[in-house]
C-alpha cells in the first residue's frame, strides 16, 4: 500500500517536474542569454492551454488541438519579441519587471474578455483516458504517463539541439558571453528572437498538456511561472541542464513533500502540531530549498556564465 502510494506520487512528481522544465527551459535562456527578466512567461502557458482547449472544443479532436496550438504559441512568442520585448533588452531589470508585469495584466484580461472568466475544461480522448499498470496492481493514468514521456522527449531533444547542433553552439556561446558572440559575427538579434519564440512554444506545450489535468483559466500560468523561476535559480540562470535537474528536484520535493511531510512530522511531534505545521511547511519547502541553495551557491547549481 505505502509502496504503491510512494511510486504513484513519485510519478506525479516527475510529471510536475517535466512540466516545470518545459516552462523553465525557455525562460532560463531568456534570463541567461538576454539578461531579460521576463515575467509574462506564464501567459505563454495560458495561451497554449487556451489555444489547445478552444481548438479541441471546436474540432472535437484533441490531437488537432495540440497540433494547431504549437504554431500558435510559437507565433505569439515571435510577435511579442518583435513588437515589444526587443525594445526592452537594454533597460534595467526593474523596468523589465514593470513592462512584463503590464503584459501579464494585459494577457490575463484579454483572455477574460475573449473567453470569459470561467474555466474551460477539455475532455481527454478515449485512447488516453485509461490506466496503465506500471507495476502489478498499480494502475496509473495513461495521460499523466504520456505527459512524462512527452516532457522527457522534449528534454532530450532540447539537450541534443543545444549540445550537438550549430545553432545550439551559438545558444551556448550566447549564454556564456553575449557580446563576444555578437562580435564573432553571429546575428544575435535573430538568435534572441528564435530562442524567445521557441521558449514560448515550450511553455505553450506545458500549458496544453496541463489543460486536461487542471482548469484552463485566466492567470493559470502565474503559479507555474513562480515555480519555474525557483527552478531556474536553483539550476543556475542560463543552464538548460541545470533547469532540467532542478525541475525534477522541485517537482519531486513539492509533490512528495505535500503528501508525506505531515505523516513524517507525526513521527516526531504530536498529532495536532504535525497536522498544523505539515501543510505549511510542505508549501514552503521548495522556497526553503531555493534559499538554501542560494546561500551556499549564490549562482545556482550549474552556473552557465564562466
Amino acid at each position: 500500500m505505502t509502496l504503491t502510494l510512494i511510486l504513484e506520487q513519485t510519478f506525479n512528481g516527475l510529471q510536475a517536474g517535466v512540466t516545470l522544465f518545459l516552462v523553465a527551459a525557455g525562460l532560463t535562456l531568456i534570463l541567461g542569454i538576454m539578461d531579460f527578466v521576463f515575467l509574462a512567461h506564464g501567459a505563454q502557458v495560458m495561451i497554449g492551454a487556451y489555444a489547445a482547449a478552444a481548438i479541441t472544443q471546436a474540432t472535437g479532436n484533441f490531437f488537432i488541438g495540440l497540433g494547431l496550438a504549437i504554431p500558435i504559441t510559437f507565433a505569439s512568442g515571435y510577435l511579442l519579441e518583435l513588437l515589444i520585448i526587443r525594445h526592452l533588452y537594454r533597460r534595467d531589470h526593474m523596468e523589465q519587471v514593470l513592462a512584463t508585469f503590464g503584459l501579464i495584466l494585459f494577457f490575463n484580461e484579454a483572455i477574460r474578455v475573449g473567453f470569459g472568466p470561467a474555466a474551460l475544461y477539455s475532455d481527454l480522448p478515449p485512447a488516453l483516458s485509461g490506466f496503465v499498470e506500471i507495476l502489478p496492481d498499480t494502475p496509473y493514468p495513461a495521460y499523466r504517463l504520456g505527459v512524462i514521456a512527452v516532457g522527457l522527449m522534449c528534454a532530450l531533444a532540447i539537450h541534443l539541439f543545444v549540445s550537438k547542433t550549430r545553432i545550439g553552439a551559438m545558444v551556448r556561446a550566447g549564454a556564456n558571453n553575449p557580446e563576444m558572440t555578437a562580435a564573432l559575427g553571429i546575428n544575435i538579434k535573430i538568435l534572441f528572437r528564435l530562442i524567445f519564440a521557441t521558449g514560448a512554444c515550450l511553455a505553450g506545450v506545458a500549458g496544453m498538456m496541463l489543460g486536461p489535468l487542471t482548469s484552463v483559466q485566466p492567470g493559470m500560468g502565474e503559479p507555474l511561472l513562480i515555480l519555474s523561476l525557483v527552478v531556474i535559480i536553483i539550476g543556475g540562470i542560463g543552464s538548460v541542464r541545470g533547469a532540467f535537474i532542478a525541475a525534477i528536484i522541485v517537482g519531486l520535493v513539492d509533490t512528495l513533500g505535500r503528501v508525506f511531510l505531515p505523516s513524517i512530522l507525526r513521527l516526531f511531534f504530536e498529532q495536532a502540531t504535525a497536522d498544523g505545521a505539515g501543510p505549511a511547511l510542505a508549501s514552503m519547502l521548495v522556497y526553503i530549498l531555493m534559499a538554501v541553495v542560494l546561500i551556499f551557491r549564490p549562482t545556482g547549481l550549474f552556473p552557465a556564465k564562466g
Binding site: G102, I226, I233, A280, Y287, G300
Partner: protein
C-alpha cells in the same frame, strides 16, 4: 537650544528642497475639507488607500531607488504588519500602539534575516530570492488555518489610547500622521551621510568599498528600514481594511508598489507618493472611462492598464517627476537630490 535651532533649520531646508512632497502631504491634510463640502465621503477612503500604498512605496523606494536593490518581495512586510494586528487581536491584544511596536519589531527582525541572506546575491538572483522569501511567507499564512488560512480573518480597528478609530476621520488622520512622519524620517535619512553613502553604493559599490566602508552594512540597514516602513503601512492597512488575508502579501502587490515607484519617479522623495496618487486614480477612473465607451467591458479595465504600464516604461523614463522636470518644474520636483 542651538540643537533645536539646528534641527528647525534642517527641517526648513528639507521642506524647501522637497516642496512637491510637502505640498502633496499638506494636500492630504486638507482633502477631507473638500470631500466634506463636495459630499464625497467615499473619496476619503480612496485617499487613505493612496496614503497607505504611498507610504509602503516610499519605504521600498529607499532600497529600490536610492540603494539600487530590486527587492521583489516587499509585500511580505506589508502582510506581516497586517497580520501583527490580526494575530494580536486573536490573542486578545487590541492596543494599537502594541500592534505598531510588534510590527516594527517583527518586520525589523525579519528584514534583518531576509536582507542578510538575500544580499549575498546580486542582480536577477537578488530579485528572485526576495520573491522566494515573500512566497514562503505567503504560503505560510495560506496554510495557517487557525488564522483563517486562505480566507483571512476579520479585524476590529485597533484601540489607540483615547482615540476611537471608528469615529469619522480619526483613522484618516492617524494614517496622515504616520505618512508625514515617514516622509520626514526618510527625508532626513536620504539627506544624511548614510543616504549619500547608499546612493554612492548604487552608482559604484567597489569605490565605496575602497574608501574603507562596508557596503553590506549600509544595504542591510536600508533594507531593515524599508521593511519596517512597509510593516507600519501594513499595520494601518489592517485597520483600514478591517480584514486581513494572505492576498495582501500576494506577489502582485510587490509588483504594484514597484510600479507606483517607477510611475512616480525612482529615487525621489515625492515620486512614490505622486505615483500612488496617479496609480490609484487610474484604478478608479479607468473602469469609468472604459464603461463610458464600451459599457460591457468596464470591469476589464486592466486591458488598458497593462499597455499603459508598458508605455510608461518605454517612453516615460524618470516617471512623472521626470516629466515635471522636462516641463520646467524642476524646482518643486527637486530632481537634483536624485541620482542619475
Amino acid at each position: 537650544m542651538t540643537g533645536l535651532f539646528h534641527f528647525a533649520n534642517l527641517v526648513r531646508a528639507g521642506i524647501r528642497d522637497n516642496a512637491l512632497l510637502w505640498m502633496l502631504i499638506a494636500g492630504f491634510a486638507l482633502f477631507p475639507i473638500f470631500t466634506h463640502f463636495a459630499d464625497l465621503p467615499f473619496w476619503n477612503d480612496v485617499a487613505m488607500r493612496i496614503m497607505l500604498l504611498g507610504m509602503a512605496a516610499m519605504g521600498l523606494n529607499l532600497v529600490l531607488g536610492y540603494g539600487g536593490m530590486v527587492s521583489f518581495g516587499h509585500a511580505a512586510f506589508i502582510g506581516i504588519g497586517a497580520y501583527c494586528v490580526g494575530i494580536s487581536q486573536f490573542f486578545g491584544m487590541t492596543n494599537g500602539l502594541f500592534h505598531m511596536f510588534l510590527s516594527i519589531g517583527v518586520c525589523g527582525a525579519l528584514g534583518l534575516v531576509i536582507g542578510y541572506l538575500a544580499l549575498r546575491t546580486t542582480g536577477i538572483y537578488f530579485i528572485m530570492i526576495t520573491l522566494a522569501f515573500a512566497q514562503m511567507l505567503f504560503f505560510l499564512f495560506v496554510s495557517l488555518e487557525q488564522f483563517g488560512g486562505d480566507d483571512g480573518m476579520s479585524i476590529d480597528r485597533a484601540d489607540f489610547l483615547v482615540i476611537d478609530l471608528y469615529e469619522p476621520l480619526r483613522l484618516y488622520f492617524l494614517i496622515w500622521v504616520a505618512l508625514a512622519l515617514v516622509a520626514l524620517g526618510l527625508m532626513f535619512i536620504v539627506r544624511s551621510r548614510f543616504g549619500v553613502t547608499l546612493r554612492a553604493i548604487k552608482s559604484n559599490e567597489s569605490r565605496v568599498e575602497a574608501m574603507g566602508l562596508v557596503p553590506l552594512h549600509f544595504k542591510i540597514t536600508s533594507y531593515v528600514i524599508s521593511a519596517v516602513i512597509c510593516g507600519l503601512a501594513g499595520t494601518l492597512f489592517a485597520s483600514w481594511q478591517e480584514y486581513v488575508s494572505p492576498d495582501i502579501m500576494h506577489w502582485t502587490r510587490s509588483g504594484e508598489i514597484m510600479i507606483i515607484i517607477i510611475l512616480g519617479g525612482l529615487g525621489t522623495l515625492a515620486g512614490p507618493l505622486l505615483g500612488a496618487i496617479v496609480f490609484l486614480l487610474l484604478e478608479e477612473f479607468l473602469p469609468l472611462a472604459l464603461g463610458a465607451v464600451a459599457p460591457a467591458y468596464a470591469e476589464n479595465w486592466m486591458i488598458l492598464f497593462g499597455p499603459l504600464l508598458i508605455m510608461v516604461v518605454l517612453f516615460g523614463r524618470g516617471g512623472l517627476i521626470g516629466l515635471l522636470d522636462k516641463a520646467g518644474f524642476a524646482r518643486i520636483g527637486k530632481r537634483k537630490m536624485a541620482v542619475k
